[in-house]
């Protein structure tokens, strides 16, 4: 438009707007008698103006957000290809459905392919439901079974909720319809039943077993997909009926044919529904037709509820009649008459398999090899299978198909368990002699660590190191079994070598710990720090050295952080665990013996540590709590490059806490430490004036529970504490006398660091119930659970109430922040404390006058922060868990397993309570100063053996 004309249009438009609504048109017509163009322009603008009242009255941000919300039936509003979500690079879309979209993605950290499921919007919009989903997904992810898809991570990034799972290459069962022999099909069904059995034992029902959900890998392994996800996505509480209808429709239409009668009738279901569905799957794949069908939905439901399918054998006379019996029992309409457990079902399938095999063997031994699946290409398997068949033709071969693990991986679940030591107290760091017949270990008799040798199966231990105050631990046999390297804290602390009989001890290198021999026995890898468990480690980095055994000459291989090195059997690489800076996590990596970049083996939220190579160098075993328990995992690895070649798989041990594993040279024996632990509260009366305890300490709780960091309520009536349980941490309160135990939380999330509000009405704590650690509060009876912090990067923890109860301090994103409790999260300004000048700190207590904070930094110093000066001041070099006395000057703390009192003025330490037999883990004091309470830890650790012979 010509600028002059625009000026006229604009001016006239403005004048017209100043007229009453009903006069505007006439006004414009009057003013533009000789200019039609001007008139049309202004009139059209006037018309637009009337319609545009709501137009652009929301900000663009809100408009965009609303559009995003409207698109909620789209999973995501971006094209995700080539994008990165967290550490996953999206490579291609594998599929989409009511559950969301599934992408093939590359894990850029762990360098492996994953299937990434992006959850739909309508699902995550409901925060309560989304958080329940994450909680339950974590339960699922703790299920470890070779026939279940491993869930690697449930997370959220850039507003997208995702589940990263193992990516399975293979074909799903529906694409194998008509291509399978009975024997192949039964071998697959047995694996499905095995997966069902494992999941059912954990209380998880699949609800949607069908051929599409069964993947068969090229190596014959079967993986059941989407376990439990059906229920999770449907949810138990449903917000909108419309949404429900959508999901129901989607699920029902596809899988109606596989539904159990109770499911089709909409009745409550249990694990036996999966047994029915598996029966349908077997029937369909054997006969080529579904047992229950109809032209309409109603007809199908009717068939499921009231018709009996024709016997499977009617489709093919050569089918064994036992198959009919099995299917009849699986497809009992009354679930009380059905197979009651998946393992019973599996046993019958296996029996039938055995029968088929033995009849085939009897008539023609070679027939079995030809019945191996032709869709499976197992290059390594053929020679093994043929040899086995020729030599041991009578042995049922079903085992090979159902357990088609690579032949080089020992199956420890078949091993014999043997307890080797049962001395009271702790036995650590067992090392098997190369011949596997004897072992050395470290034990603390009378609190002093020494090395002992014992025969496997024997009872008597021989002391190898002198019974002197010096402490000897971490023994390692030389490859020829003739010498033992170990750590000693005699002067100078370092690594020593002795003959296996305990003679001719000499120093190899000072300042290093945890030796691991090179395969040629000439060098030792060691770390400058070592711990028996990662949980008690501070973050001072540990260097990795290589030391020449003969000369003691050392070279520093890696400086950043490396603990408990393990030299690979081929001699190329050294595995170790480390803590990435300020992550609080522990991870496993390897490095070439000549240095260079590290290759990460495990780097994820679970604690991963204590790596050990299998003697053939094919696997790296390590200790991890990824299943909830601290147990053993292994991963296929390239010993030359350190590249991980497979996914972590669980190695079964009968213990909630296993560590310090070591193999015999032939790889048939695995020795390790099992730990049982308990932690209880003790109290002692205290006179704060004289700074002396009064009377003897007394137990407040006793038992095999683990009570972490108890805190007495301000009115002195109750303790609140964290209690770790299998794969979850809960908040519990008890009365001051230790009675009346009450769970405030008892669910899957990790709830930690509970702290009383100053009025004693609320409890703040850290919880990952949204999938990330955030600060939460609840009433002292567990009601009114409320999320306080949001959008945290996952490191939010250590809540601390201000003495007036108005504010809360916690650590978030590497800094300590303070929020106002009367504001919601969106309007918080997040006051930050200044960055600590030396080391990051955790604040443990806020002084009663509100002016100071006291805490410990990562180097173990006790540090005080003043709000007035905004300065940090180091008070003590060594101490933990400082807690103020009422005067706000003195404080109690722990150091060297004793309780001390000090103050911020003189900084002088006074011992209050001497060492106990058990280890002190936390300390607190009642508000009136009359009671000191503390938690005491005791652990019983014994050495066990897994034996495959």
């Amino acid at each position: 438009m010509d600028p002059d004309l625009w000026k006229k249009v604009d001016a006239l438009f403005e004048e017209a707007l100043a007229q009453p609504l009903d006069k505007r048109e006439a006004f414009v017509s009057e003013a533009t008698k000789d200019n039609a163009e001007l008139r049309d322009e202004v009139l059209s603008l006037l018309k637009a103006q009337e319609q545009a009242s709501n137009f652009m009255e929301r900000s663009a941000m809100k408009v965009a957000a609303a559009r995003l919300a409207e698109d909620s039936n789209l999973t995501t509003s971006f094209s995700l290809l080539d994008k990165e979500i967290a550490n996953y690079k999206i490579e291609k879309l594998l599929g989409a459905g009511g559950m969301g979209e599934v992408y093939l993605a590359h894990d850029t950290k762990l360098k492996r392919l994953v299937a990434l499921k992006i959850l739909p919007w309508h699902f995550v919009a409901d925060t309560e439901r989304a958080s329940r989903f994450r909680v339950e997904a974590r339960a699922l992810s703790s299920l470890n079974h070779p026939n279940l898809i491993t869930i690697y991570e449930v997370g959220e990034a850039d507003g997208l909720h995702f589940i990263a799972t193992e990516f399975v290459e293979g074909q799903n069962l529906s694409s194998l319809r008509g291509k399978l022999t009975l024997r192949e099909l039964l071998a697959i069904a047995a694996q499905v039943a095995e997966a069902l059995s494992a999941a059912h034992q954990a209380g998880i029902v699949h609800r949607d077993i069908k051929p599409d959900n069964v993947m068969v890998r090229p190596d014959g392994y079967v993986k059941v997909l989407d376990f439990g996800l059906v229920k999770l996505t449907q949810g138990t509480s449903v917000r909108t009926s419309q949404e429900m209808a959508k999901t129901q429709l989607g699920v029902a239409m596809g899988t109606l044919a596989y539904m159990s009668p109770e499911q089709a009738a909409g009745e409550p279901i249990d694990h036996r529904t999966d047994i029915w569905s598996l029966g349908v799957v077997i029937y369909e794949l054997v006969t080529g037709r579904k047992p229950f069908t109809g032209k309409t939905r109603q007809e199908t439901v009717h068939a499921i509820l009231s018709t009996e399918p024709e016997p499977a054998t009617s489709s093919d006379e050569t089918l064994p009649s036992e198959l009919d019996q099995i299917l009849t029992k699986a497809l009992e309409k009354d679930r009380e008459l059905r197979y009651q457990t998946a393992s019973d079902f599996r046993a019958d399938i296996r029996r039938l398999l055995r029968m088929i095999d033995s009849s085939a063997t009897a008539s023609n031994p070679r027939a079995i090899t030809s019945s191996f699946p032709n869709f499976i290409q197992r290059t390594w398997f053929w020679p093994v299978a043929v040899v086995v068949v020729l030599i041991l033709a009578a042995i049922p071969l079903g085992w090979y198909l159902t357990r088609a693990k690579p032949a080089l991986a020992p199956d420890w679940s078949r091993a014999v368990h043997l307890q080797l030591t049962n001395q009271p107290g702790t036995e650590f760091f067992p090392a098997l002699a190369p011949d596997g017949k004897s072992f050395v270990y470290a034990a603390a008799e009378n609190g002093n660590w020494d090395l002992f040798e014992q025969r496997v199966g024997g009872k008597n231990a021989t002391r190898l190191t002198p019974n002197t105050p010096s402490e000897e631990t971490e023994p390692a046999f030389s490859p020829d079994g003739e010498r033992i390297a170990f750590r000693s804290n005699r002067e100078p602390l370092g690594i020593y070598v002795m003959e296996r009989t305990g003679e001719n001890t000499r120093l190899v290198v000072a300042g290093c710990r945890h030796p691991s021999w090179s395969p040629d026995g000439k060098e030792i890898a060691c770390s400058t720090r070592s711990q028996s468990a990662p949980t008690i480690r501070n973050s001072r980095p540990s260097a990795l050295w290589i030391v020449d055994v003969a000369t003691g000459a050392k070279r520093v291989l890696y400086e950043n952080d490396a603990m408990q090195p393990a030299w690979s059997p081929g001699g190329n690489r050294i595995a170790f665990w480390y803590m990435p800076p300020s992550s609080g996590r522990s991870e496993v990596a390897t490095i070439s013996k000549s240095g260079g970049e590290i290759e990460v083996v495990a780097n994820d939220a679970p604690t991963n540590w204590n790596p050990v190579w299998s003697p053939d160098g094919k696997f790296l075993y390590y200790v991890s709590d990824r299943s909830g328990n601290m147990g053993f995992w292994r991963v296929l690895i390239d010993e030359q490059t350190g590249k991980v070649l497979g996914d972590p798989e669980a190695v079964v041990t009968p213990s909630a806490f296993s560590r310090h594993l070591h193999f015999s040279r032939d790889g048939r024996r695995l020795i390790y430490v099992q730990t049982e632990q308990e932690q209880n509260i003790q109290g002692v009366k205290f006179d704060p004036k004289r700074e002396k305890t009064v009377g003897d300490p007394f137990w407040i709780t006793r038992g095999d529970q683990q009570i972490n960091r108890p805190e007495l309520s301000p009115d002195g009536t109750h303790f609140v504490m964290r209690v770790p349980r299998r794969a979850q941490d809960d908040i519990v309160i008890i009365q001051r006398d230790g009675t009346n135990w009450r769970d405030l939380t008892n669910d899957r999330p990790f709830d930690r660091y509970p702290r009383w509000s100053p009025d004693g009405k609320k409890i703040a704590f850290t919880s990952d119930r949204t999938g990330r650690y955030e600060i939460w509060t609840m009433d002292a009876d567990g009601a009114n659970l409320r999320q306080l912090s949001y959008d945290s990067p996952g490191d939010t923890s250590f809540p601390l109430w201000s003495p007036d109860g108005q504010r809360m301090l916690f650590r978030r994103r590497g800094v300590n922040v303070i929020v106002e409790l009367n504001k919601d999260w969106a309007s918080q300004t997040l006051e930050q404390l200044p960055v600590e000048p030396e080391n990051p700190m955790v604040m443990w207590d806020w002084s009663p006058d509100g002016e100071k904070l006291i805490g410990t930094d990562s180097a173990g110093h006790v540090v005080c922060y003043s709000f007035e000066t905004k300065q940090y001041e180091k008070i003590l070099d060594n101490g933990s868990y400082p807690m103020w006395l009422a005067d706000g000057v003195r404080f109690l703390y722990l150091a060297d397993d004793k309780i001390y009192l000090s103050d911020i003025v003189t900084k002088r330490a006074r011992e209050i309570l001497p060492s106990q037999e058990m280890r002190l883990r936390s300390v607190g004091i009642s508000r009136d100063g009359q009671l000191i309470y503390y938690s005491l830890y005791s652990g019983e650790s014994d050495i066990w053996l897994l034996d495959l012979q």
Binding site: Q51, A52, S59, A60, M61, A65, A66, F78, S79, G159
Partner: protein
Amino acid sequence: MDEPGAHELTELLLAWGDGDEAALARIAPLVHAELYRLAKRYMSRERPDHLLQTSALINEAYVRLIDWKAVRWQNRAHFFGVAAQMMRRILVDFARRRPRVDKDAEALQISLDEAMTISAEKDGDLLALDDALKSLAELDERKSRIVELRFFGGLSVDETAEVLKIAPITVIREWNKAKAWLYRELSSN
């Protein structure tokens, strides 16, 4: 990627205002996250009619994202201007990257009435709006600035007046006329 802190974010914004394009890449993810957060809130709790409120004093996102104390008073006007421009860039880029919804498929799922309501929301198409605003700028720079500040920046009338150093009543008049012009522009397509 590490998220920039509030203070750093403010610096980035000012740097972008001075022509540092790289700064935008650091800010955009935060705005996106905020967008998702808002979207989720809409979906979970609020009825659509609650959305039709006039802008608050200042876009809620800024309150959360910007360290206002770091913005000196004399910089405020300049800062508002930069912030609004930045939001426009990020939001329009965001809209551009979204896949087009298949209108036919969508129409099958919603009744005719609903379809009418949705098509009446002209502001939903930020891409088209951005184009129209560019045309408006060629014709009438001041009006387009006002739209950018109010709509993309979420500024109030008074704040817009402060940035442009004009009277609030002028902002209102110009805003109304700009709206009508843009509405007509978008309706004619």
